[in-house]
């Protein structure tokens, strides 16, 4: 191999890599805003679904359940706060269960949604079922408890998946609500929004 060859080959490589890089950068420039917008849209939709009455749901801050990044939001209807939405994690059977919880102004749970989990198919994945999630309506902090027997006052466990049921109820939801009460009540609503707006 002569020096000339090496230069030729290097040039060849460099040119093709630069062109490839440029093309990719171009595609990236086109795609990344769309990706970003889609993610934002999906997030807004998920929030809206939990708080159908609200006309404005704004991020209020971050927190870190189980050392994971999570956010919380304030839901308003014609400039009046009607509730809060908090993201939280529960340590389940084989995964951390990513949950969104909506509460009203008295910190009673309105609705929850499971965003992501890796629980056992056929057992633990029933936390996604309406029959389980529906139980959370109007529960306050004191009633977020899993019972293995039939109950409407507390949360009834999914048969065969007590660990997953507990993870959602007593870890994710309870901690999320507890966090909201502590931050919003003690920090004061105005304070929290003021800091971030």
């Amino acid at each position: 191999m002569t020096g000339k060859d090496i230069i030729k080959i290097t040039l060849n490589l460099v040119i093709i890599y630069v062109i490839g890089g440029l093309i990719l950068a171009l595609v990236y420039a086109k795609a990344s805003p769309v990706i970003f917008k889609n993610n934002e849209k999906a997030k807004q939709q998920a929030l809206k679904q939990l708080m159908p009455d609200a006309d404005d749901i704004k991020k209020a801050g971050d927190w870190a359940p189980h050392e994971k990044h999570a956010e919380y939001f304030i839901a308003k209807k014609s400039d009046e706060t009607i509730g809060y939405v908090v993201q939280s994690f529960g340590k389940g059977y084989s995964s951390y269960i990513d949950t969104l919880i909506a509460v009203d102004r008295d910190f009673k749970v309105q609705k929850i949604n499971i965003l992501h989990h890796g629980e056992t198919p056929g057992l633990g994945d029933e936390i996604e079922a309406e029959s389980f999630k529906g139980q959370f309506k109007d529960k306050d902090l004191g009633h977020l408890k899993v019972m293995k027997t039939e109950t409407t006052e507390y949360i009834q466990a999914i048969s065969g998946a007590t660990i997953s049921s507990r993870a959602v109820t007593e870890d994710a939801v309870k901690n999320g609500v507890d966090f909201l009460i502590k931050t919003v009540k003690e920090g004061g609503t105005g304070n929290v929004t003021g800091r971030h707006n």
Partner: protein, 346 residues
């Protein structure tokens, strides 16, 4: 053909099988040894238990016949291995499966098919299977129908009752609510032990009666069909780990007896882990195998997601059995080589 098969079989499992014993005699003797435990299960769980066990046996034998017919091999059903697999599988199923709303009676049938065809016949038939067929059948069922496989009937209901009350197994209570609650459920400690020993507790059909299983196991040991290595190292390791790590908080406060006589520990240690084909054939390898089973069982029971770990522990060790055999054997050869090399140097 069948003569050739038997011959092959004996070659592959030679360390255990005495040449004068035929495969079929071994299979029928092991089935006989299982009888006390099976009868105890039927006594405690009633007619449903009998139906499930029979269903497993029939499905296994039919699956084997069916498969052999399709591939055009001569039938070796007479060797009793399909019967034994069906019996073991049936004993590892909850009696509650005999239920028509929801319908779950197909579970034993499909599990038997998986046990016989996928785990045994696809590997070339008895003697070549790597995994214990009955255990694969049960694991397959547990994962495919996780709910149906974890509904446990309360024992000692009326013999003919078709819908018995459901309850948690002792290990389930132990896992979720702790040992204090377990003793509370059974009254006192002595009561707990006697219930576990006789088999008057929730669980799979054939695993509940520790005494009946022990009788069968000792019978096999006495007749020389199995050796002490696997059961003793299995149960010993499990007992030590249960004693050291099984307690709450402090070390050395666990209760090894509860762990030994609950769940499938006894049935697994005496009848499943000792399967000739799927365990190592050299003594030293068998001890390693047993220790591995005991360790993994307790790992899953104490730290894992499932309340019971015997089945998975044995299956995982089944994966390692060929490797253990290979390792132990090559180390023996290695030692010989070293000696020879030294002699050569001299």
């Amino acid at each position: 053909m069948s003569v050739k098969k038997e011959h092959e079989l004996i070659v592959s499992v030679s360390p255990h099988v005495r040449s004068e014993e035929t495969t079929s005699r071994i299979m029928w003797t092991v089935s006989l040894a299982l009888l006390p435990a099976a009868l105890a299960g039927i006594y405690f769980f009633g007619l449903k238990a009998l139906f499930i066990t029979a269903l497993c046996i029939v499905s296994s034998v039919v699956s084997e016949r069916f498969y052999l017919k399709i591939v055009g091999k001569k039938s070796v059903v007479g060797d009793g291995s399909a019967f034994l697999t069906g019996l073991l599988l049936g004993m590892n199923m909850p009696a509650s499966l005999w239920s028509f709303s929801p319908f779950t009676a197909h579970v034993p049938v499909i599990a038997s098919f998986v046990a016989i065809v996928i785990t045994k016949q696809l590997f070339g038939g008895l003697g070549f299977n790597v995994f214990n067929p009955a255990l694969i059948g049960r694991a397959f069922a547990l994962i495919s129908w996780p709910k149906a496989m974890t509904i446990w009937n309360e024992p000692a209901a009326a013999f003919l009752a078709m819908d018995a009350k459901t309850t948690a197994t002792p290990l389930g209570i132990l896992k979720e609510e702790g040992v204090t609650r377990l003793i509370e459920v059974f009254g006192d400690k002595i009561n707990l032990y006697t219930h576990l020993l006789t088999g008057n507790r929730a669980g799979s059909i054939g695993e509940t009666s520790a005494v009946a299983i022990l009788i069968g196991g000792l019978f096999l040991l006495y007749r020389g069909y199995i050796t002490w290595h696997i059961p003793v190292s299995f149960l010993g390791t499990a007992a030590v780990i249960a004693w050291v790590f099984g307690g709450k908080g402090a070390l050395f406060t666990g209760d090894p007896i509860v762990h030994l006589i609950s769940g499938g520990m006894m049935l697994g240690a005496w009848f499943m882990a000792t399967d000739y084909v799927t365990s190592p054939s050299i003594r030293k390898g068998q001890i390693i195998f047993g220790i591995g089973c005991g360790f993994l069982t307790m790992l899953i029971r104490l730290k894992g997601g499932y309340p019971e770990g015997v089945m998975f522990a044995i299956l995982i060790m089944n994966c390692f059995a060929p490797l253990i055999d290979r390792g132990v054997r090559s180390r023996v050869f290695g030692a010989v080589k070293q000696v020879k090399a030294k002699e050569n140097r001299k």
